[in-house]
Each structure stands twice: as structure tokens, then as C-alpha cells.
């Protein structure tokens, strides 16, 4: 067997080149790449409802005992106060409730309002609420009514709130005094 050095070197060199080429090809698959991925998020401001002025029916002056029925004090959203029922001697100075709504993304249209729950009017300590005959304390507020709910250019609105106060018949001396309660008010954006 003849061994020729001159033949050997080119084969080795060729092999090496082929191997290096294959090596370059493999490293290309593991190459790092850079790019930009856009990341976005949205935050929508929830409607904020602040009611800093209470709906106040004032102090109603009524006689004790039989009045031949309930008395209803109505405070309209424009502040007008009317009475129906019997034997109201005098009605105090009433005040509409005021809630301010902010944070709407709308700049026109109207909010929809609705009360969530009619309040139970609790008597101050030292007095008892009148009884409706069923053992239930019954100074009730109902028929809530709001003024215009037009949304302004800032996505806000001031809403006046009125309602009906019903005072039951047959008050006794322990029923006189102050009462208070709360009502949750819900405001809905137009679609």
C-alpha cells in the first residue's frame, strides 16, 4: 500500500472545511434575535358618585294620637315641599339631596338613576319609631325622584334627589325626635 502525503492533506483539509460549514449552519438556528413587542393596557375610570348633601324633610309638627290617617311629606327635586294626609300643623324647612357624578367617558346624554334600596329610618336614641300596627317601625321614605341627569362636557352631572316621607298615624310622645337613614344610589352610564 502506497501512502502519499500529498493526497492526504487535501482530503483532510476538505473534510475540515465541510465540517466547519456544517458547524456554521447549526449555530445559525440558536442565534439570538431582538424585536419590539407592543404592550398596551386600558384603564377606565369608574363612575364616582358622591352625595354630600342629605335629603332632609325638615321637622314636621304633628299632633299626637289619631290623625285619621298617614301623613306624606313630598320633597320634589326642585325643592318644592307639599303635604298630603291629615293634620299637619307645620312642615319644617326641607332640603333636596344632592349627588355629584363624575368620571363618565360620555360628554352628552343622560345618566340613568335608580335607588338601590329604600332606607329604614332609624330613630335617635331615647325615642322609638312609630308602629304600623304590625310591630314594624314605620317612618318610610319612598318614590325617590331625581332632577335632570344630563351629562356635561366633562362627563359629570349634579343630580338633585327628592322623595316621599310617610309618617304613620297615632304618634305618641316617644315618637317625636329625629330620624335618619341611608339609601344607596346607583347611576348608570348611557350605553
Amino acid at each position: 500500500m502506497k501512502f502519499h502525503v500529498n493526497d492526504l492533506l487535501p482530503r483532510a483539509a476538505l473534510t475540515a472545511v465541510v465540517t466547519m460549514g456544517a458547524g456554521l449552519s447549526q449555530s445559525a438556528l440558536a442565534e439570538e434575535g431582538t424585536g419590539e413587542v407592543e404592550v398596551t393596557a386600558g384603564l377606565a375610570q369608574a363612575l364616582k358618585v358622591e352625595c354630600n348633601t342629605a335629603l332632609d324633610f325638615g321637622t314636621t309638627s304633628l299632633v299626637a294620637g289619631d290623625r285619621s290617617g298617614n301623613t306624606v311629606i313630598t320633597v320634589a327635586p326642585d325643592g318644592t315641599t307639599t303635604t298630603s294626609g291629615s293634620d299637619v300643623v307645620s312642615v319644617g324647612t326641607a332640603q333636596v339631596g344632592l349627588c355629584t357624578v363624575t368620571g363618565s367617558q360620555n360628554t352628552a346624554g343622560k345618566f340613568t338613576t335608580k335607588e338601590f334600596q329604600a332606607p329604614t329610618m332609624n330613630a335617635d336614641s331615647g325615642q322609638t319609631a312609630p308602629d304600623d300596627g304590625s310591630g314594624n317601625p314605620t317612618l318610610t321614605v319612598s318614590n325617590f325622584e331625581s332632577s335632570s341627569t344630563e351629562i356635561d362636557s366633562n362627563g359629570a352631572a349634579d343630580i338633585n334627589i327628592g322623595g316621599d316621607l310617610t309618617i304613620p298615624d297615632n304618634l305618641d310622645g316617644d315618637n317625636y325626635g329625629d330620624y335618619s337613614g341611608t339609601v344607596t344610589f346607583i347611576v348608570v352610564d348611557p350605553a
Binding site: 398596551t40 335629603l55 324633610f57 299632633v63 299626637a64 311629606i73 339631596g97 304618634l171 330620624y179 346607583i186
Partner: protein, 213 residues
């Protein structure tokens, strides 16, 4: 511009990116829908007194000459007694004589107070002077025109308590949530009446009674 072929890995990356952006687009679209606040509601009840005045203050019928009276206007004073009593009536000035029916004091009853016994009530008249209007009262016909009669200087006297006689305009005191008082005043008849102004007259004064509960 030369477009290079996109490897499967880059396609996958683009697909993931598009899904991510699509998802974040939904978050951006969310708008405020509703909000709620708590509204306070206040009310107050105060006890009211009931005041009824079933007996009117009446000066009765007086004979007055028509035309100009040289002694000027006629002033008649009813000073009330205690409720149920007999008032003192005086013609302070001018012409005129009383006829049937005669003068009577007014009487009022307060009830419904929650204040303790012996609590004093204040009595206040809404006007110091009221003008009477033509009316068919005391068997008298309606005058043809207004004669300009007026009543002023209203007074009151409460029911007695104990042995002392209550002073004029002293405050009534409660017993079991009630009190009574009598009412008097001065009637002024102008000095020049025509015959058409003779007849009946009537008016109303509002009385406010307050306790100190």
C-alpha cells in the same frame, strides 16, 4: 425592497403578539358603566299643640247713628274674664249703645301638649289690629259697603289655678296637656258711617300658642 423569508419561529411570535394586542384592545374598550353612592336621609317629628277656639269674640250689636258723629269714632273694650266667666264691656269713647245679643268673650282650648303639668304656655296674636269685613252675622244683613271697622289690642286671660285670680295677659298653665284662656279686644267704629254701611261684620285673628317642652 427585499423581503426575507420568515421562519416558523417568527410566524409563531407574530401570532402570539397579535393575540396579545387583540386582548389588550378589549381592555382599552371597557368604559365606565355605573357607580353608586350613599345618600343620607333625615327627618324630624315634633309634637304639635291643638288649639281650638269654639267661642268667638263678639262685640254684639250696637246702635250707631249714621252720618258724621260729633264725638268721633266709637271704641268698645271687652276685657275678658276667666274662661266660662262674664267679660267686662266698656264703651271707651264715642256714641253707641249695646243691644241684644250683647258682647261675649272668645274662648280657646289648647290640647295635646306633652309638657309637664303647670308648664306655662305663651299666647301670641298674629296681628295687633285686624280689619273686619262686611258679613251677615248676628241677625244683621250684609252691609252695602265696608264701614272700616277694626279690632285692636287683643288680650287674654287664662283659667284660674288655685285661689288666685289670673292677671290679664298672664300665661295659661297646663293640666294633663290642656289649658284654656279667654280672649278680648277693642272694637273701633269709624266716626262717619252711611246707612248702607250698617250691618254685620266679621274677621279673624290667628293665635299661636307655644309650650316649652
Amino acid at each position: 425592497m427585499k423581503h426575507e423569508p420568515v421562519s416558523p419561529a417568527r410566524w409563531l411570535g407574530r401570532l402570539v403578539l397579535s393575540v396579545f394586542i387583540s386582548g389588550s384592545g378589549l381592555a382599552t374598550a371597557a368604559k365606565a358603566e355605573s357607580g353608586q353612592g350613599t345618600l343620607e336621609v333625615h327627618a324630624g317629628l315634633s309634637a304639635a299643640l291643638q288649639l281650638s277656639c269654639p267661642k268667638p269674640l263678639t262685640f254684639g250689636i250696637w246702635f250707631i247713628p249714621s252720618g258724621i258723629r260729633k264725638d268721633g269714632s266709637t271704641e268698645i273694650v271687652i276685657e275678658p274674664d276667666v274662661p266660662g266667666g262674664s267679660p267686662v264691656t266698656n264703651k271707651r269713647s264715642g256714641d253707641g249703645s249695646s243691644s241684644f245679643p250683647g258682647p261675649r268673650q272668645g274662648e280657646c282650648t289648647v290640647s295635646g301638649s306633652l309638657a309637664d303639668d303647670d308648664t306655662e304656655l305663651t299666647v301670641r296674636f298674629s296681628d295687633t289690629t285686624i280689619n273686619l269685613q262686611p258679613a251677615a252675622v248676628l241677625f244683621q244683613d250684609l252691609p252695602d259697603s265696608d264701614g272700616g271697622l277694626s279690632v285692636k289690642n287683643f288680650t287674654s286671660r287664662p283659667a284660674g289655678s288655685g285661689s288666685s285670680f289670673p292677671a290679664l295677659n298672664s300665661n295659661p298653665r297646663l293640666t294633663d296637656g290642656e289649658a284654656t284662656f279667654a280672649v278680648g279686644g277693642h272694637l273701633v267704629i269709624p266716626s262717619n258711617l252711611t246707612s248702607g254701611q250698617l250691618g254685620g261684620y266679621s274677621g279673624t285673628v290667628t293665635i299661636t300658642v307655644t309650650d316649652t317642652l
